[in-house]
């Protein structure tokens, strides 16, 4: 009996030892085994989905199962954006169409194409009228809440700066002080303006090409995918080139937010594989799409750390979506209520987005502050230059008078815009561009132009006083030049005030050289708001009020001065 018990205990111990050994061996084996590949993970998901499709097509649990049951995947593509997607009598073509076809093949189904537009592509996903959108859609944090983006991204666009090959500008920094033609509302405009680039605004991208050909624009900026079709033409690519690109925006395929977890995972794994194996790259090259981004991505997805079943969730491998969801201002609710009130009672449909979105409001606030600095600075510079130039022009010594006279003549002969550009170019040649530099150059330039004219008025007044002095009553001692100068200032006060007002009116021109005043700020804010009418109405009102205030202020100061003179 005891022997039998001992044998059973012995066997149990052996079993336990074997179990422990096998667990340890298993653990060692697991530790040594490489992580699951995306290919294996994809096969696993597809096998499970096929199994589900074989049994439950009446009520599919996931969109992937529904696709397998239907034997087709409905893909939303554009029909007007070559070389990405275009439709013609011969059928659909383009990079995105080719990608959709390869994805359908990887799933073992056929593609059914549905034409979508930027306006309806997300809505069609939400309404389950398409299973997948591959439609030039940038992955942004804002859109992330509306559709489920497939990562890794299948492409990325950039803002490309294009110009004649002869122009040697290659960096954003080198563009400071140069003119660049852009479209209104382009998301890169604020960054370009902040770099000191003079922005010329156009309504549509096609206009940029016309202006480039016609010579009105030396450089143009637009999405690089827009330029793809033009660079496909030998004549265009012989004459022009992409100087540099900036502001990358990853493009993502998207599925509906709900009901498609397995589909989304399968598409992410397919994307990983397509990047790693160069499928995306080959399709891009075949369709004339710029391959630089896809080459970079291929290298990324060939890394062992990224080429895994979970690589698509690894932040070190996947690009983040562009930040686009903007914080709202504290008073956004009040502004919205005001919009509604005006619409209801006055029938005016205002869109005051610049007061509702924090980044736009920050821009506007900074623009107003800079405009005030610019106006005050220009007034001070005008007055300062007027006093100095007036004194020099009124001097008896020719050596002082003639160089200043020549300077005034030059200033008067130069169109104000050109004066500003010359000042800004000179400043940029010495210092690196900055907002303060642009403001300083504008203040100096506008102060010189208007101060020169006002100074001339002072000198003319001085000349009349000297002529009168020549016929002074006998016995009265001659007035000194200093006294005459003070009288000349008094006599030319109307002219000085006129040029101070002119200087105020000229301040918005500073936007042309990149000074971040209100006109520039509001132009930048159109990147956040499509409503230009309200924006430019506000701009006009601001500057008219500013000029009227300066007129009033000058009037008050004139009154004070005249009362003091009368009293003395």
């Amino acid at each position: 009996m005891l022997r039998r018990v001992a044998m059973r205990v012995g066997r149990l111990l052996i079993w336990l030892m074997l179990l422990a050994a096998s667990i340890a061996a298993g653990h060692r084996a697991c530790a040594a085994r490489p992580p699951l590949t995306p290919d294996a993970a994809l096969q696993s998901i597809l096998s499970a989905a096929r199994a589900a499709a074989a049994t439950s097509c009446a009520d599919p649990a996931d969109q992937l199962v529904r696709i397998l049951c239907a034997g087709t995947i409905r893909v939303g593509v554009r029909d007007d954006y070559p070389p990405f997607a275009a439709a013609a009598a011969g059928g659909r073509s383009g990079f995105e169409v080719a990608v959709a076809t390869r994805i359908a093949a990887a799933l073992g189904v056929s593609p059914t194409f549905v034409t979508v537009t930027p306006a309806d592509r997300i809505a069609l996903l939400a309404e389950n009228r398409i299973d997948l959108a591959i439609a030039t859609m940038g992955d942004t944090t804002l859109r992330d809440g509306q559709a489920r983006f497939i990562r890794p991204h299948y492409y990325a666009s950039h803002t490309a700066i294009v110009g004649p090959r002869a122009i040697p500008l290659r960096t954003l920094r080198s563009l400071a002080g140069h003119t660049l033609c852009v479209t209104v509302g382009d998301s890169s405009n604020p960054e370009l303006a902040a770099a000191g680039v003079r922005l010329l605004l156009f309504a549509a991208p096609a206009q940029l090409i016309d202006e480039l050909h016609a010579g009105a624009c030396s450089l143009i900026a637009q999405d690089d995918t827009f330029f793809a079709r033009y660079f496909a033409k030998p004549r265009f690519s012989a004459e022009y080139e992409t100087k540099f690109t900036m502001d990358p925006l990853p493009w993502g395929m998207a599925v509906a937010r709900s009901g498609g977890d397995q589909l989304a995972t399968a598409l992410s794994l397919i994307s990983e594989i397509f990047h790693r194996d160069g499928v995306f790259l080959r399709l891009a090259e075949r369709n004339g799409v710029a391959p630089a981004f896809l080459r970079e991505q291929r290298a990324v997805w060939q890394r062992p750390t990224c080429d895994t079943a979970q690589g698509f969730a690894n932040p070190a491998c996947v690009l983040p979506p562009r930040q686009s969801d903007m914080a709202r201002t504290r008073f956004a609710g009040t502004v919205a209520a005001a919009e509604a009130f005006i619409a209801a009672h006055l029938g005016l449909h205002l869109s005051l987005a610049i007061f509702k979105l924090q980044p736009a409001w920050d821009l506007v606030r900074q623009g107003i502050l800079n405009s005030i600095i610019l106006i005050v600075g220009t007034l001070a510079a005008t007055l300062g230059f007027a006093l100095v130039i007036g004194r020099a022009l009124g001097a008896r010594r020719r050596v002082l008078r003639w160089p200043v006279r020549l300077l005034v003549m030059l200033l008067q002969s130069t169109p104000p815009v050109l004066s500003l550009v010359i000042a800004a170019s000179a400043a940029n040649a010495i210092f690196a561009f900055s907002a303060a530099l642009a403001l300083g150059a504008a203040i100096l330039s506008l102060g010189l132009i208007n101060g020169g004219n006002a100074g001339q008025a002072i000198a003319e007044a001085m000349a009349t006083l000297r002529a009168e002095e020549a016929h002074r009553p006998a016995g009265r001692p001659a007035l000194s030049d200093d006294v005459l100068y003070v009288h000349a200032l008094r006599r030319s006060l109307t002219q000085i005030i006129a040029f101070l007002i002119n200087a105020t009116k000229a301040t918005p021109m500073a936007s042309f050289i990149g000074a971040p005043e209100l006109l520039n700020a509001l132009t930048d804010s159109t990147s956040f708001s499509s409503d230009r009418e309200t924006t430019y109405w506000l701009l006009l009102i601001f500057y008219v009020v500013a000029v009227l205030l300066v007129v009033r202020l000058c009037g008050v100061m004139r009154g004070v001065l005249e009362r003091r003179i009368a009293a003395s």
């Binding site: 500008l169 624009c217 030059l410 002969s413 050109l418 040649a429 000229a506 021109m509 008219v544 009227l548």
Partner: protein
């Protein structure tokens, strides 16, 4: 930084001249529109009575509108196409620039026109005739101001200069282009102002001659001018 003048393409000067002609055209349009709006204002303003407050206020407002802002405002507010008396009209950028100069030109026409009418009423023909040289001076100021059109992509003189300057990376070369631009614009402006002075001098001479003739014909009675 090289200070030697850069080699300019042969097309630069013709393009600059064509661009400057556009400046002249825009200034002409602005002055024409200014006369259309400014002269009725001048008539009202010169009229003695309470009604003159209205044109005075309008002129004050017109004077306060910065041309550059008005240009951007109109560019973004005006439609590209409009119907005028049943006909489809394209609103070009040049026309937009001319319109943006309208507040300035109209206010000057109204102000000087009203003054000329007052002088005429007082019997001073010579002072009234100063309206013409002032108008000519305004035209040249408008030519210079129309250079702002470069900011919205109009192919006028300044934009030709800036485009050429953009071709050169160093400031020395660009400065030469700017100097050339200043010279050409300066030549036109100074010639214009010289013509204005000459016009004023001739007018003065003619009026003095006429006054002298009237004086001798009327036995020493002047026309008051």
């Amino acid at each position: 930084m090289s200070l030697l003048p850069p080699a300019l393409p042969p097309s630069f000067l013709p393009h600059l001249l064509v661009g400057m002609l556009r400046d002249f055209a825009m200034a002409g349009m602005a002055l024409g529109l200014g006369l259309l709006l400014g002269l009725p204002l001048a008539l009202l303003w010169a009229h003695p009575g309470r009604l003159r407050v209205v044109p005075a206020a309008i002129v004050q407002l017109l004077r306060a509108a910065p041309t550059f802002v008005v240009m951007f405002f109109l560019l973004n507010i005006l439609p590209h196409q409009a119907r005028l008396f049943g006909a489809e009209v394209t609103i070009t950028k040049q026309f937009t620039v001319a319109l943006s100069l309208l507040p300035y030109s109209a206010s000057i026409v109204a102000e000087n026109g009203a003054e000329a009418l007052r002088q005429l009423r007082l019997g001073s023909t010579l002072a009234a005739l100063l309206f013409l040289p002032n108008l000519a001076r305004t035209y040249f100021v408008l030519v210079m101001a129309s250079g702002s059109a470069a900011a919205i992509g109009v192919r006028e003189g300044i934009s030709v200069i800036l485009r050429q300057a953009d071709q050169f990376p160093n400031f020395g070369a660009r400065l030469w282009i700017f100097v050339l631009g200043v010279f050409v614009y300066g030549l036109i402006l100074q010639s214009g102002f010289f013509l204005v002075l000459e016009l004023r001098r001739r007018l003065a001479k003619r009026v003095v001659r006429r006054r002298a003739a009237a004086w001798s014909a009327g036995g020493g009675k002047s026309d008051g001018g």
